[in-house]
Symmetry: C2
Subunit: 462 residues, 2 copies
Amino acid sequence: MLDIRELFRHAEKYADQTVEIGGWVRTIRDTKAFGFIECNDGTFFKNVQIVFAADTITNYKEVAKLGVGTAIACKGRLVLTPEARQPFEIKAEEISEVGSCPSDYPLQKKRHSLEFLRTISHLRPRTNTYSAVFRVRSAVAYAIHKYFNERGFVYVHTPLITASDCEGAGEMFQVTTLDMDNPPRTPEGAIDYSKDFFGKEANLTVSGQLEAECYALAFKKVYTFGPTFRAENSNTARHASEFWMIEPEIAFADINDDMDLAEDMVKYIIQYVLETLPEEMEFFNSFIDKGLLARLDNIVNSDFARITYTEAVDILKKSGQKFEYPVEWGIDLQSEHERYITEKVFGKPVFVTAYPKEIKAFYMRMNDDGKTVAAMDLLAPGVGEIIGGSQREERHDELVARIRELGMDPKDYWWYLDLRKFGGVSHAGYGLGFERMIMYLTGMSNIRDVLPFPRVPKWAEF
Amino acid sequence: MLDIRELFRHAEKYADQTVEIGGWVRTIRDTKAFGFIECNDGTFFKNVQIVFAADTITNYKEVAKLGVGTAIACKGRLVLTPEARQPFEIKAEEISEVGSCPSDYPLQKKRHSLEFLRTISHLRPRTNTYSAVFRVRSAVAYAIHKYFNERGFVYVHTPLITASDCEGAGEMFQVTTLDMDNPPRTPEGAIDYSKDFFGKEANLTVSGQLEAECYALAFKKVYTFGPTFRAENSNTARHASEFWMIEPEIAFADINDDMDLAEDMVKYIIQYVLETLPEEMEFFNSFIDKGLLARLDNIVNSDFARITYTEAVDILKKSGQKFEYPVEWGIDLQSEHERYITEKVFGKPVFVTAYPKEIKAFYMRMNDDGKTVAAMDLLAPGVGEIIGGSQREERHDELVARIRELGMDPKDYWWYLDLRKFGGVSHAGYGLGFERMIMYLTGMSNIRDVLPFPRVPKWAEF
């Protein structure tokens, strides 16, 4: 059976030929003499129109009664229809029911709320919106692999289960095979984790960065692309407990190389999706987010601005704007601040660099001022922060001092410090939240609608 | 700084030009007048030879004393050396130390055991063997994405955390945020999982297949590629607790389509790696597994055999071979049986189909004989099973009956059964263990050596 995508992409090649397709009935209508089926096989966003006539097919009455959602096989002649809305239609010679679909099928023609569709995550990819979302998701994943592969990056699978004490950031899920009801205990009465599967307490990772650094100092250019977890009890439209993240890491590189890479990658992804999935992107622009294509075009065609945190604070203070959170040097920029800068001041993406060390992670490289670190956040119109990165502290003694300053124990970081001890070089990287990127590219406003089977507090169905 | 890969791939382009590279010292030797550094930046398997002379560089003495593992930057003229073993060398004009490396660096020139290198997983990708392994791993991952993308498959991220009762296969890790020391309890004294993060007991997935089926029945052709977990206490060279798996799923397809896809994919991956990483593959063939390239060539150039389980049992019984596990119809084929068939009988990969239903999973399609199911295993010389798949039972009532027969509750499978109720079509898929494939392609015999940071019982370092 031919993919419907193939027919749409090369209709001329199949003109006036008999083709065989399989797919699902999206809509069906008929008169006594002939009828129309909009059929979709999932390989293409648009439906094929099948025309069936009582004097051509032998089972006209049965076909006319097929329900929405029925799986059919169809043999027929492909006829180009240059005057019609669709480029071609199929004049059926045979139609057979492959899989029936009763009338309690939840995806009848009427419009459903996204909230309702989340409760049937196993069926929702059959709808227009989700079929577009998840095809974009797949294409963006591929674009990312292609981008890094073409530039000689090595793809590293950093571990998901971690017993390392290094991460610290964010609340973690515990992973165990102990009997929760009656766990083994030490003589002192504590849980005896030496009896747990890994011989110690283990969690799900919140980032593969530290492990990716090990590989960057072997392969020069690496990236991770894998699942990441946060056990935060945040029931917002932008947080999920399980999501995917991309973390490139480059050696012999500084914060400017890092920003160059991030800017180039973001533009590449956007261009790839616009070129590869024009029908889906047109759909999002028409039905989900009217300004989408203009916003994405603007990003592709602009040079991202680069300012320091200190400059950002100055801009905000001089703006005359009234913000909910007052602006002072040292504060963590809030979404309202970020969006003001990127949307109102620059009207394009903005890198903000050199953040106060107090609001950034321990591994970021200290700037010469002793107050700020070589961090960078990429802010984008319509969404705020989409990338966060930094040059890493590659100087062994400076890193040890910073670890101590924060009350952590350098012993827990022995292997991470080894990277500074044995042929350490300046290196940098960033993290891109994959779902945030998909939301940005589609205009979908809830992260639950860009994850196939989202996991959020109190919800892990399917 | 130029990537050393770029120099090797396009040496002529840079002949007699001054180039700038950065990398790590692999070996260094010197006389009083000149010296040689083998330098590797991780972008290419082979080292660049840098020649430095006392009358050319100003810091000759310092350079001559650099330790193995030191990070350096080097500016010099690229000179083609057609008579030498290496295609070119760099005549240094400037060499500077970027990151020092003291003499307690564990990767000194001497050979280390793989066992020892596992204890320094953060440094081992800097060795020849692991740099080859992990570049192959990255290339194979890309080949898989490229293969499926070019054929219109949608990449689906199935969830890692699951609260579904559907999976059943294998021991699972529990995921929790409850206080292990003092968990909330119901009035009856049981652990109160309604207070756990997801409101119920949750685990790490052992397969994304059931969720992938949902997407195959929307997109026709999908695949997953993600981490999978097994909490089995198996300390073998072929088992890891966290590994990656590829699971394609195709609709409007049967078991034969499934085998066609598997065969085509395996050949594609092998060809891709042989073409893309000839230096690494040559290394494995020379130093790890002498018969490797011949074995892989044989696979690419053979038509895989296809026999039924019943035929396989007949062959084994008539073989006159003495097996440790005696052969009778109904037994699960052991590794010795699988290898006899693929290595001794066919000398090429073999699909075995139509296994007894008792030794296969509930979701596999029942054959008309009522005794066997439409399963397929791909056996390959030198390793045994590398792929397992099946056509899925798409008939609603048959599936319900099978679920009941196995003492499971159809209610737990409501969404999986929905796929059979609403436009169900015949579909099939398989699972490829990614690490098993990498072991097969490299000749590495321990799974701990093809995972960047392996997780196995009692071991989750880094």
